[in-house]
């Protein structure tokens, strides 16, 4: 099977052999993609599902990649998948919060973490993805506008709404959560 792009290591190698150049590039992006998928999702398993769908699509569409900024392209694909999926979830907004795989690796208070997650889950799909691309992934506003194919003014208004709604939701959510047993 041939793979559209020629390059060192691509092409005629057998299954299970070393990754080709494109595959290596995708592998190098996995940590960033995993973080972004989790920042959009409601749970760890949700995040992993989104990540898998995204990787599948990036690889299936490799021949359509224009060769510039694979990271931004993969992030755009992830955002679109997230919006597609979320429409379905919107009919069942309550999803059990699962155990955090990463919880042990962070110093943050688990109550605070849950409070933040709950507040994030109240953001709209559009506002949440802009907030994460800017704050967690460090993209500039112009880059976000290009990635999401929206005017920069829309990026700014979504960012503004996300920040205000998040602050509001954090303020309202004063319910004391049960501390998770260690």
């Amino acid at each position: 099977m041939s793979h559209g792009r020629d390059g060192p290591g691509s092409g005629a190698e057998a299954k299970g052999s070393a990754p080709d150049e494109f595959e290596s590039d995708v592998l190098a992006l996995m940590p960033a993609l995993r973080r972004y998928s989790r920042s959009l999702a409601r749970s760890d398993s949700d995040g992993e599902d989104l990540l898998q769908d995204c990787v599948e699509r990036v690889l299936a569409r490799r021949s359509q990649w224009r060769g510039v900024n694979l990271r931004a392209w993969a992030f755009t694909i992830m955002t679109n998948l997230y919006r597609n999926r979320h429409r379905r979830q919107a009919q069942h907004p309550e999803v059990e919060l699962e155990e955090d795989l990463a919880a042990e690796e962070t110093s943050a208070d688990p109550i605070e973490r849950r409070r933040l997650e709950r507040a994030l889950n109240r953001l709209s799909v559009e506002n949440r993805s802009v907030l994460m691309l800017v704050v967690v992934e460090g993209y500039r506003y112009q880059d976000v506008a290009e990635m999401l194919a929206i005017p920069i003014g829309t990026v700014m208004s979504r960012l503004s709404r996300a920040r205000r709604q998040l602050a509001e939701a954090m303020k309202e959510d004063n319910v004391i959560a049960l501390r998770r047993p260690k």
């Binding site: 099977m1 299970g16 989790r38 920042s39 995040g47 021949s63 359509q64 679109n80 597609n84 967690v136």
Partner: protein, 268 residues
């Protein structure tokens, strides 16, 4: 400028929080914030939020032992069908060029005033049906359509027969969208057709066609519900609705392109 301190916009406050400003700009904002305590408090909240979000998700930025297997397995088993041949793209480009030159002839139709309350029940429900079809099928990752784009001729014949209409599948490649496929859907209680398109990044749109019992014409109309937008129109016995996840300007261009291509069909 004497009014420097009154000219800080909210966008600049965001840029300040996100660290996108030069040193002199930062200083200007900081001086301004000292004199505007309410805004300063909000900026402080945003900074705290940003720090919490970064910390919250930082631990997920890691590789996993299964990543390599995931990448290689998908890469070597799910290669997409090839992109459209160059010749077809060139033909499509020529088509849109000619269509562009003819736009003037269609213009009055597209700028007809739209009063949502003037729309008939049938038209109203067409846009609603188009939006529910989009919501149900566009979120399907693996089985969004019944017949894929690899069987275009079969798809057109099959759906055309059920719709009793000489269906030609619009080619939207000049606008960056390729056909995913189509399926049979109920529209106004009878057989209708839904075509799905997708751009290279997975942004989707659908074109819904249904028989129109009233056999009348309408101008271009627009409906928006919960962030999902639809352009629709009725042309004699068929109602059309283009629904998508794309910016309104682009969606309108796509709807106009569909209109031109469908118009070509029914005139023949």
């Amino acid at each position: 400028m004497t009014d420097d301190f009154d000219t800080v916009s909210e966008d600049e406050l965001h840029a300040y929080v996100d660290g996108h400003l030069s040193e002199p700009e930062r200083e200007r904002i900081e001086t301004w914030l000292k004199m505007h305590p309410a805004e300063a408090e909000e900026v402080r909240q945003w900074q705290a939020q940003a720090a919490a979000l970064k910390q919250h998700f930082a631990a997920y930025a890691r590789s996993d032992a299964s990543d390599r297997q995931l990448v290689i397995a998908h890469s070597r088993s799910t290669e997409a069908p090839s992109v459209a041949p160059l010749l077809r793209r060139a033909a499509a480009a020529l088509l849109i060029f000619v269509a562009g030159a003819l736009t003037g002839a269609f213009a009055p139709r597209f700028v007809a005033p739209v009063d949502p309350r003037a729309s008939t029940t049938a038209v109203q429900s067409l846009s609603e049906q188009a939006q529910s079809a989009f919501l149900v099928y566009a979120s399907e990752v693996r089985h969004p359509v019944e017949v894929g784009s690899d069987q275009q001729a079969h798809l057109a014949t099959w759906l055309g027969k059920r719709l009793d209409y000489d269906l030609k599948l619009p080619d939207l490649s000049t606008l960056g969208f390729s056909l995913v496929g189509g399926r049979l859907v109920p529209v106004n209680g009878t057989a209708g057709a839904m075509l799905m398109y997708e751009d290279a990044t997975g942004r989707r749109l659908t074109v819904l066609l249904g028989r129109n019992p009233q056999n009348r014409e309408t101008s271009f109309r627009f409906a928006s519900h919960a962030g999902l937008e639809t352009f629709y129109w009725i042309d004699r016995e068929i109602g059309y609705a283009v629904t998508g996840d794309v910016a309104r300007d682009l969606l309108k261009k796509i709807a106009e392109e569909c209109y031109r291509q469908f118009e070509g069909t029914s005139a023949s």
